[in-house]
Amino acid sequence: MEMNRVQTTTDVEYRLYATLGDFIEGWDLDIAITPDTRLVEDLEFDSIDVIQLVVAIESAFNSRSIGFQDLLMRDGRYVDDLSVGEITKFLESRVPQA
């Protein structure tokens, strides 16, 4: 799949888009990833894919202490879907900027 990546402005954003692009390679999706792209609705994520994405992001940012549960859970329940923009914003608040 050819990913039409939007222009990214921060190192966090760049690394996230690169990770996500590699992550969905071979999934036969024809979609441009933008901040509005949603994991479940647009990228056909299952819950296991979310776990794998967290592992991939932790590897990309070389940290296992990002605290993804704060993004994935709200009011004691797991969220139904997430946008790329929400993940970017979360990461920018949790990892040091380059």
Binding site: I48, I51, Q52, D80
Partner: protein
Amino acid sequence: MTRTLLIGLDGATYTVLEALMRENGDEGVIMPFLAHVVDTGYSAILRSTAHPLTPPAWTTVATGRTPGTHGIYDFVRFEDVGDEVYFTLYDARDFRSETFWQVASRQNRSVVSLNFPMMAPPQKVNGSLIPGFVSWKHLRRNVWPKELYDRIAAIGGFDPKELSWDFERESQIGDVMSDHELHRWVERHLPRDKQWFNIALSLMKEDDPDLLALMMDGTDKIQHQAWHVLDPALWTGDKSEEAQAVRKLVLEYFLRLDGYVRSLYEASGPDTRLIIVSDHGFTGSEKVVRINHYLGELGHLTWRESDGSEAARRRDLANFANLDWTRTRAFCPTPSSNGIVIRRRNEINSAGVEPAEYEAYRDRLIDDLLKLTDPETGQPVIREVFKREDAFPGDAMENAPDLTLVLADHGFVSVRNRAPAVVTRPTPLGTHHPDGVFMMVGTGVANMRGEPMSIVDTTAIMAHSMGLPIPKDFEGRIPAALYEVSHLRAHPVEIGPPTLSVDPEAGPVTSGTAEEEQREEVLAQLRLLGYLED
């Protein structure tokens, strides 16, 4: 150098294999090659880990260490942060011990490791590694070396969807299926092992590794659902045509499996030692034991109230305990764990048990658990309760459940909130039994039935077979009768330096701050491995 070929048969049991290795009327001999291995080599019962479950048991084979040291206890792990408990999956980064694939690689032995669980993200080895239990979507990123994926993709007939773990399909384990549904379910499992066989054969021929280790897990999956057509004690009398069709298909699976093992052994050359091991055995389970419902009745836990939403409904159906964590002292986190976790009171957890009261509370809880009886028979449904220091001694013990249950029929518990606490299944389902299989044949191997041995012995046996010293911190041993005396005299067991401590960044996570422990988390509806849920 003698090549070592390790074939893992997930859940293989002599209860089934012995019947398939001998003539049985019109069915003939289903597994003639395994019969040959037993007839000409060494075989024994192989005792699994204290809780006979795939992740801890295969990790023991892969590391030569028991779970109290290697740190893997279940598919799922959780983090308790007081008013919430987060569930996620164990993975290779949680290993507290070096794998044997790494030990051998460091000593310039080439290794191929295929389909072992908990091996993703992949470790760097001197050879090739493809982890098991990974969905097709993530396989490409999780092989070692990275270019290996293109190599296996070029193998004729390669289909990543057939090869990989289908979480939705496997979540049906434990569901009650009609024989018609079961036939279709078994059918979809047949191509998987063929895919792994093709890869193993290809890498053996192209790379000529010193060790090729391949795990086949169709045995486990099929036995879980089709136990009633496999257990010789249950397959008696007149059976429906649909049941007979299921048995025919299941026998076809085992026939093909026997052929795969034979073909790999023959392709590996005459100077090869073949080791066949299972991670645990199998038996039938008749009872559903809703352990959290029982703990709720006794006041040890409180269920989370549902708001009636779709999200709440999905969460209730997930195979993770869904509780009010502000009012829960003890709970079972997952069906596959068969474990009870006692929460301790601390600065973030006001609901837990006071540390000074822990021992007394635990003793009372054990008494409560052993009092749970089957209303139909009046007999206890829990045969044994292990304290974690007895079941899982070691540096990684703090991650083990406080108590581990052995049910009377060896079944897995249910964590759902349904009454009554104990009911009988309409059809026995396959469940794990501690007694698995060990078979070995090849240069110097004795021809006999040996004494029962431990699963942790298999890694020491692999090392010795490869001409490597056995790391002194390996917990297993070479059975005295495994080799002919002359062979053992010429190839004595050598104890070598201990394994290396693992890199905290690449491997395990040691005890640290709460923040360090708050890592990847799951969405609610993880449809993972419905171990004998009701």
